[in-house]
Symmetry: C2
Subunit: 384 residues, 2 copies
């Protein structure tokens, strides 16, 4: 196995687990939230900023990086770590989701996906082999297989066809790997159909992958469907390998998935919402562009010790956003990432202490209370 993964603790009241993944670029404490740096940059933040909020691992994207700057740049400088000045672990997504969501003028066949570049309009082929070749050049610590993404609302026949092609592509990806020092994760598909998810997990876990992702969620599914599939799928994955829920989600999504035993996450929400002027806080979301923020001399979150909350008032952040000043999104990005990474740190401590189920319940109740103004049940997650 290319990727040492050690389980340190399992929560007695849920399936949550606390582990450590060792990579050539350092350890990843799990459950881990991976900061999204699609184009070899986390919008507006440099590696020192990322270290300051406690980011351990970044996520790059093969689709975007193959188009710009292009793979030759990574070959020349020896990989993404040197290119962007980040010395910690990097995971690269394969590009499957981007072909699904971004490419116009695309044709997907058994061979791979043919699409037109948004940079220079040239036609590219992204096949399982090509994706691995790119990720090898990018030099990520964890590579992902190219998968076939479809909408969660697709019918069972379409979902089965996409899943079966994903399986064939996964084996081609495994065969195409040339550098054993780079781990390779497979991606379980099967939409919202339990039988397909079971079949997908059963097939993929029979091969020598270093970890397993749950894909095909947050693409049209409801929150309940997402939680159901996550719980169901996570149980099907081997205990001794990391489990990665792709592209999910809000803090409640993360808490629910950790309860189900998921180890790794990525999501653009903390940075994406920051650029829109929305902050995650311990008392709910705050929209700094609203007029009431302009009159508030308190920090975004009085309980937060991030660099933004210790120096900037909501009124100052409001002013920056109203002026279109880039410091505004930057300060909110730092805060939102700190908020997410603090949640993960606190979650890991709670798992170590054996109190994660009650920790998650309290957090979920608190978020629900702040965002919906009432205490509701927190679903089957804790009860299961």
């Amino acid at each position: 196995m290319a990727l040492p993964f050690t389980l340190r603790a399992v929560d007695p009241g849920s399936r949550a687990r606390r582990g450590v993944i060792e990579t050539a670029h350092g350890a990843i404490d799990t459950p881990a939230f991976m900061t999204v740096g699609t184009r070899a940059t986390v919008t507006g933040l440099d590696p020192r900023d990322l270290a300051s909020v406690g980011a351990q691992v970044l996520l790059g994207n093969t689709y975007h990086l193959m188009l710009r700057p292009g793979v030759e740049v990574f070959r020349r400088v020896g990989g993404i770590h040197r290119f962007m000045g980040w010395s910690g672990p990097v995971l690269t997504d394969s590009g499957g989701y981007q072909i699904f969501s971004l490419s116009s003028d695309r044709t997907i066949s058994e061979r791979g996906a043919r699409f037109r570049s948004y940079v220079d309009q040239r036609v590219h082929l992204l096949s399982p082999e090509k994706s691995i070749e790119m990720q090898t050049a990018i030099g990520s610590d964890v590579m992902m297989v190219l998968d076939v993404c479809i909408d969660s609302t697709s019918d069972e026949a379409h979902t089965r066809a996409a899943m079966e092609r994903t399986h064939r592509w996964a084996l081609r990806s495994l065969a195409a790997r040339t550098n054993d020092a780079q781990a390779l994760f497979a991606i379980v598909q099967g939409g919202v159909f339990p039988a397909l998810r079971r079949e997908s997990a059963s097939f993929l876990t029979g091969h020598g992958f270093d970890g397993f992702a749950i894909g095909g969620l947050a693409v049209g599914d409801t929150r309940t469907e997402r939680e159901d599939v996550t719980h169901f799928s996570a149980e099907l994955l081997p205990a001794d390998r990391p489990r990665y829920l792709m592209g999910v989600g809000t803090p409640p999504d993360l808490l629910q998935a950790m309860l189900a035993g998921v180890d790794m996450f990525d999501c653009i929400l903390p940075t994406h919402l920051a650029w829109q002027g929305t902050a995650f806080t311990s008392t709910g979301r705050v929209k700094v562009t609203r007029a009431d923020s302009g009159r508030s001399d308190t920090p975004l979150d009085a309980r937060c010790d991030c660099a933004t909350c210790t120096t900037s008032s909501r009124a100052y952040l409001h002013h920056l956003f109203k002026c279109g000043e880039p410091l505004g999104p930057r300060l909110l990005s730092l805060h939102n990432l700190h908020h997410y990474l603090t949640l993960m740190r606190d979650a890991r401590s709670a798992i170590e202490a054996g109190s994660f189920a009650s920790f998650a319940r309290a957090k979920l109740d608190e978020i629900d209370r702040h965002e919906h103004g009432a205490t509701k049940g927190i679903g089957k997650a804790v009860a299961s």
Copy 2:
């Protein structure tokens, strides 16, 4: 006098001087370059970034800040230092230049300038008294009088009329000051006419201002005119008060003005050009958006020890600019400010060592060689 200013050394080979201005928010080593933070932010940089490049003093702008966030915000939080989280000295420009350059629909009379806000289209009056009232609320360490700015190409009659009104407004500003802890600088006008500059300096230095600025340059004048007026005007100002050349300029402009005995500068060039993808380096300007930068794995400046040059290649910066990623302008802003502030630090050391004339000559020759590909004379500055 509200503003202690101590001269520590005068260069034997030129008029360059090394001094220290003491403010309630810390010392300013002169000659000083003030980083421009027009709207209570230096585009994309936070106070820790500014400290990391060695910025000692920021410049805010009364015109922009009175329109947004508005003076009430500063009254409420107790000034700009708390508002933006910057604990060092701040100088505020009065808004005279912005009325000249930005306001449409403006009427300037003896009373002041009436103009329409670009934020909410409301009509505002900016008078000398109003500007001081605003600057008092903003809480800057050094305030500037409201002056009448005109184009450098204006004829002598118009230039005299603007100068005489500037003098009357300067006295009204002095009378309007309510907080002696905030210093107040007058602004010498008179365009490119030596007799008017002499008259302006003679009038203003007869009143109790804490320092004197040379205004009305970099608004249509040639480089030679600018240097001539700077040299001529600086000589007319008292040796025991700081001399501030407003809105100027390039590194050669700064070197020439320091040779003439100027102590303070501000200019948007280092940050403005950074946002356009241009870096100042020890071997001339570098445009990172050019294709050759995309193929270069060297830093912007091999002789620079800033955070950008120690972590990022030109190829990476090129990539960020091509992707429209905000980290690109941020990294270039950090580098360009570091470049300017290093020039000022080196200049101060050279004055202390009594070698500034030869230091400036070597720098000017080097810049000229890199930017124009040939060694030319460096003008009358050193010879005078």
